[in-house]
């Protein structure tokens, strides 16, 4: 078990109060697993991802533990975390295109960063060059300044630097969002390639785009309003989602080939609740077509089917119902 997060709670301080961006989240990521973390903007997915490596000034760790490869990550202790950063856990940030110091050559930046982590650039240089080539950057990129590269190239340089020390866990935060389709595909494939080659052991890919995850993720976890909604392997989430939110999200995605004349898709009415003062019970209740009185109670995030966790009373009922039917049928 590579990563194991238990009851993690992270708050985000804003002018109007604390926002519970990550509320009692428990999940794990296995070795070699690419886990997709999906959800709408403001659902806490980026906060969750970032909290595993670097708590920024306004983020606060309220509780819960994070274990990586059996060791506890001291996520609330900035200094103690330093030892793990880049080596054990690393990140390709959302702002990857502007993450490189504009006045340093990319090679120099890598050298300085590695020095901070107690490694010499010379030691990893051949590997560095190999990876630079792998992501399709020219060899000379080490001698170039960020502004000499396009946004997509800068992002790839960041990818390479972030993974230079073969971290156990890589957090890729919205790495495909700002890209055109062909670059999206290239970056998506690079991520799996990085895993396949063992540059990173496991990965959390944060995105709002489920179709990208359908391509590259092994498992998908869906967040809604700071809580986990559903987690299962990618195929199951895409083909047999149990949570009404996941279902609605998927059915609102136009795919190539779908035309309005043939199939009019529908969105999800309403807006997610404010996290400043989240409602009790299931947070999706107000937008959910299946909501019933039980939903006033908060649904637990439990494994309803093998390897398929859901936080939904309705789904729990359905699964129990079909199990019962099966049972009855078997009994008959």
């Amino acid at each position: 078990m590579s990563l194991s997060v238990r009851n993690l709670r992270i708050a985000y301080r804003t002018l109007r109060g604390d926002v519970q961006a990550v509320d009692d989240v428990t999940f794990s990521v296995a070795d070699g697993e690419i886990m997709g973390l999906a959800g709408e903007s403001g659902c806490g997915k980026s906060t969750l991802g970032n909290s595993l490596i670097y708590l920024e000034g306004r983020m606060r760790h309220l509780g819960g533990t994070v274990e990586l490869d059996g060791k506890v990550l001291p996520i609330s202790d900035d200094r103690a975390m330093n030892r793990h950063r880049m080596r054990d856990v690393s990140i390709i940030p959302q702002y990857a295109m502007s993450a490189l110091n504009p006045t340093k050559k990319i090679g120099v930046l890598a050298r300085d960063l590695l020095k901070s982590r107690g490694t010499k650039l010379a030691k990893v240089l051949p590997e560095f060059r190999r990876r630079v080539a792998l992501v399709g950057l020219p060899d000379s990129v080490l001698e170039m300044y960020p502004f000499e590269l396009s946004g997509g190239m800068r992002q790839r340089a960041t990818m390479v630097i972030s993974t230079l020390l073969n971290p156990s866990l890589l957090i890729a935060d919205e790495v495909t969002s700002a890209l055109d389709v062909s670059n999206q595909r290239a970056v998506g494939e690079l991520l799996t390639e990085f895993r396949d080659r063992g540059y990173v052991k496991s990965m959390i890919v944060i995105t709002h785009d489920l179709s990208i995850l359908a391509q590259i993720a092994d498992t998908i976890m869906v967040m809604y309003a700071g809580k986990l909604a559903e987690k299962a392997d990618a195929g199951t989430i895409i083909d047999r989602p149990l949570h009404p939110y996941t279902q609605a999200l998927l059915s609102s995605l136009p795919e190539v080939g779908v035309r309005y004349e043939e199939e009019e898709l529908t969105g999800i009415p309403g807006r997610p609740p404010s996290l400043l003062d989240p409602p009790a019970g299931c947070r999706f209740r107000d937008r959910c077509p299946f909501a019933f009185d039980k939903c006033a109670e908060e649904p637990p995030f439990v494994e309803l089917l093998p390897g398929h966790q859901v936080a939904c009373w309705k789904a729990a009922q359905d699964v129990a119902g079909s199990a019962e039917r099966e049972h009855e049928e078997a009994a008959r």
Binding site: T14, L15, R16, G57, P102
Partner: protein
Amino acid sequence: MSDVDQAATSSAPVAPGAPLTGVRAPGAAPVGGAPLGRKAYSGGRRWEFLYFAVRNKKLVLGLGVEIIFVLAAIIGPYFAPYPPKQFVAPAFLHPSAKHLFGTSYFGQDVFSLLLYSLRNSYLVGFLGAAFAGVIGLGIGFIAGWRGGWLDEILQTFTYIVVMIPSLVLLIVIGAYLKSHSAFFEGVFIGVTTWPWVARAVRAQTFTLRQRDFVDLARLSGKRGPAIVLKDIAPNMASYILLAFILLFGSSMLIAVNYDFLGLGPTSGISLGDMLNLAELWSGLQLHLWWWFIPPGAAMTIMVAALLVANVGLDEVFNPKLRET
């Protein structure tokens, strides 16, 4: 103009080379506060500013001190114990209860002189800031909005004005002029200190011009000047306010320089003038410290209060600088 300038203005929150060198002017946080745009939209912003304004110690302190001095300038002369320029007592009197700041070489009451002088300093500061502000905003808006060759010409012009040290120029002009007025002084300060405002305003106009709401205003049939006034300028309001404060402070300081060299208002009385006379009439050698220390100290406090208020305001407008 050059990419150097652009790199500078776009990458950092400073309008470099504000006459008060390096004071943080308002900068990239142009657009209504936070440079990152989107985040600034969360929350009722105006009230938020007020909320932070009254809680900002620097702003309250700076503004408070400044208000005291402004009041002294406005009503002070009515309460001054003596007329400013007349012999009211023997010369060289040490500070005492009767003459708070003693008397000068000429037997003037230094305290009364000071009270009267504040007015001129504020007047010149205000005039200078107003003129520089108007010119800087005008040129900045035009250059940033129109772009193209007009921008090139205005930028070149701005550059030339920067290259010519204004005090030196005024000394040369002053040598030919028989008399000076506070008005002339203020205007002159104004017409020589606008470039950094123009540069910053231009850069920001340039950025704001590319925002979609400007296009939308055009699609609504609005014309250029209306868009600049209604859509672009208000988004720089905080910046303009901060710039004005800096200009105000720097104008007063420049005026002290001018007055000290005898280039100030011929008839008037000003803080710089007091320094000038004290220097000319050997105040230094005669150890008449009460003659030249108070005016300079007053000026220092006036300007420092402005600077501190400016920093406070800046923190109010720009969340990044707020202490956490």
